[in-house]
């Protein structure tokens, strides 16, 4: 029984000589708040999804008793998604596509940047970090607004492209162009990925890399066989921390495109809330989204807690 094992077991009770009620009491306000405003809403969503609609005002009427839940909305959404007249299907597929493309692009951009700042920036590391993290502090809306400025018909992007003879007349970037939306998503989410990747890459023990070089691996092979495997966990975390929230994104599309042809599932949900009679469907879609993402979310949380308790990296 080593000392660390002893200490580990001791952790079972630093509260041994302290009143047992103390710790839960401290946690109660937070727990209470979360219960009412985090857990309870899920139940409400379920109740609305399993509820009916008021024929007069066309607002959703929730049913509180689980035994009485109706399947009307669910069936409606299912048919909208997969059925003969599926018009939501494209939105879902589009969401998946945009999400996958944007997330991948984010990772491809973020990894080199994070790697550079973490391992090769030398004395200027702090400065690079601030520069790279700065967009984090600029509101998302402002960043989209910034691109709006540039992508307008007579904006600087069209100017530059015309001057470079890449286009002959101004392109309307801000209406229904998937490229714009995807690039907007990348622009918006990439700082988060960089920060997460940076934290992980920074933690890699430099002596491991030195050992690899010492043993004869060249720079490329050191990277492929040592750095990359070590950063695998962080890459997954970074991918999830982008891909999951992105699935619920709708404002990027609205700001940079605003036409239904580039709709994401988030747009459908948010518009269903303001359309009379569609509240229930919105709720079902939210549940649908939640269920689809539940597994990756749980995976992320568990791997983060494991990482926090001191594993690896």
């Amino acid at each position: 029984m080593t000392r660390t094992a002893e200490a580990g077991r001791r952790q079972a009770g630093p509260g041994t000589r302290q009143p047992r009620w103390l710790w839960p009491t401290l946690a109660v306000p937070g727990a209470g708040w979360l219960t009412v405003l985090f857990l309870l809403p899920f139940y409400v969503v379920l109740a609305v999804a399993g509820g009916t609609v008021n024929p007069l005002f066309l607002n959703a009427v929730p049913i509180w008793n689980p035994l009485d839940w109706q399947s009307g909305y669910v069936r409606q959404v299912f048919s909208d998604l997969f059925g003969a007249s599926a018009f939501l299907g494209p939105s879902v597929l589009r969401t998946l596509l945009y999400d996958a493309l944007a997330s991948t692009a984010c990772l491809l951009i973020a990894y080199p940047v994070a790697y550079f700042v973490a391992r090769q920036a030398g004395r200027r590391k702090g400065l690079y970090l601030v520069a790279v993290v700065a967009p984090f502090w600029v509101s998302y809306m402002m960043r989209m607004l910034a691109w709006q400025n540039l992508l307008q018909g007579n904006g600087l992007v069209n100017h530059a492209l015309t001057v470079a003879h890449l286009i002959t007349q101004p392109v309307n970037w801000l209406s229904g162009m998937p490229v714009t939306v995807i690039l907007g998503l990348v622009y918006g989410y990439v700082p988060y990925v960089i920060v997460v990747l940076y934290a992980g890459l920074d933690r890699i023990d430099g002596s491991l890399l030195e050992a690899a070089r010492d043993l004869g691996l060249g720079r490329t092979r050191t990277f492929l066989h040592v750095t990359l495997p070590l950063s695998r966990q962080v890459i997954y975390a970074g991918a999830l921390i982008t891909a999951l929230p992105m699935a619920g994104d709708f404002y990027t599309n609205t700001m940079l495109s605003g036409v239904p042809t580039t709709n994401m599932i988030g747009n459908v949900i948010s518009s269903s809330l303001s359309t009379p009679g569609q509240g229930g469907e919105g709720a079902v879609l939210v549940l649908f989204l939640l269920i689809v993402m539940l597994a990756p979310m749980i995976w992320y949380v568990r791997s983060t807690s494991r990482a926090e308790s001191g594993d690896v990296l």
Binding site: M1, T2, R3, A5, E6, R9, R10, A12, G13, P14, T16, R17
Partner: protein, 385 residues
């Protein structure tokens, strides 16, 4: 300050199915420097934490100056602790750190100032009182931790391997200082360590712990020269151990005669009145190395394997004819120190320094007084080892 007497009565601590401390009993007198010595995991730290009040004993009793404090919370005991990593509050300067506990003793501002000043003088850190812990060296931090505990005038001071984080030289200096401090202040120190050198240097008495039990309690000299069993002998300093069979048990007047392979030796130390399988122990510094021609009692021939220069002495490693390799300590200037590997020598194991230790912990002195039956002829048998 008045020292405190501490009595531990069958103190036990279990963590789930594992028993960290197994019914230990001890009586610590007031003003004593008492050490708990043992390897990692032997339960010494757990014992200390129970004394401090951070662990609840599973059973047993802790009596401090006649009062049962077993279930008293740590802030109500007249016991203070010096932690292994000092746990100095980083956001307070030295003075504020030392003054921290005085708030709970309801002292006036003037009294606080005075007592803090006294404590800082005691550890000679008055010039550093405005510094933050991060600006002090390891040894200075340790002294602040001491001052912070002593200013509260406890009956007992608990020290949890306080010198563990320091380098060797600083450790040696602080060992002397700690001992001097304890003598000056006069309270009981209970000191936990895994370093036997430390325990031997500073303590009035040492309790050697193993697997949750106290194996031996005695003053340092006794623990070193008269270890209770082979394990203690091996734990405290280097010990040469070999298996032997008792030929004739000893008593008050005559030594125990044992056979090691075909060699017969007299032994006067340890439990001489046992029979059967035993272990012999002798400290390297007691082994006398002689040339091949000499004649003495208790001689075993051997060959020098190698010599190791230790600085203050030379260690001579000899492979004996009985199949055991022993270490002997020779003076740097002596002949033995310069014998090359392969030199035939003889090792004299003086009877007074040769200790007989029970092989089997269950074997008690006085049992089976007659020699083993005829299966032990003097020459042929090699005892199992």
């Amino acid at each position: 300050m008045a020292g405190g007497t501490v009595t531990l009565n069958h103190l036990t601590k279990r963590f789930g199915s594992q028993c960290a401390v197994d019914g230990i009993c001890a009586e610590i007198t007031a003003g004593e420097f008492f050490s708990l010595l043992g390897p990692s995991g032997c339960g010494k730290t757990t014992t200390l934490r129970m004394l401090a009040g951070f662990e609840d004993p599973t059973s047993g009793q802790i009596v401090l100056d006649g009062e049962d404090v077993t279930h008293l919370p740590p802030n109500r005991r007249k016991v203070n602790t010096v932690f292994q990593h000092y746990a100095l509050f980083p956001f307070l300067d030295v003075r504020a750190n030392v003054a921290f506990g005085l708030k709970y003793q309801h002292c006036s501002k003037k009294e606080i100032s005075q007592r803090v000043g006294e404590a800082l003088d005691l550890v000679e850190l008055a010039p550093y009182q405005r510094r933050r812990p991060a600006q002090l060296s390891g040894g200075q931090q340790q002294r602040v931790a001491l001052a912070r505990a002593l200013v509260l005038r406890p009956s007992v001071l608990l020290l949890d391997e306080p010198l563990g984080a320091l380098d060797a030289r600083m450790r040696r200096t602080l060992q002397v200082e700690l001992k001097a401090l304890q003598e000056r202040v006069g309270i009981t120190f209970i000191y936990v360590t895994h370093d036997q050198g430390e325990a031997l240097t500073m303590s009035d008495r040492v309790a050697v712990m193993r697997s949750g039990r106290i194996v031996q309690v005695a003053n340092p000299r006794a623990v070193y020269d008269e270890p209770a069993d082979a394990w203690v002998a091996d734990f405290l300093g280097v010990s040469n151990l070999m298996d032997a069979v008792v030929r004739t048990p000893g008593n008050g007047t005559r030594p125990c005669r044992v056979t090691v392979r075909s060699f017969e030796l007299d032994a006067r130390g340890g439990t001489v009145d046992v029979a059967g399988q035993v272990r012999l122990a002798i400290r390297p510094e007691r082994v006398i190395l002689c040339g091949f021609q000499e004649s003495r009692a208790n001689l075993i021939p051997g060959i020098v394997e190698r010599t190791v220069f230790l600085g203050s002495a030379t260690q001579v490693i000899v492979h004996l004819a009985v199949g055991v390799t022993i270490q002997a300590l020779a003076d740097n200037a002596s002949e033995a120190a310069s014998w090359p590997p392969g030199t035939p020598v003889q090792a004299c194991l003086p009877a007074d320094s040769l200790r007989v230790l029970p092989c089997d912990p269950a074997q008690q002195p006085g049992e089976s007084r007659q020699a083993e039956p005829a299966g032990e002829p003097a020459s042929a048998v090699s005892p199992a080892s």
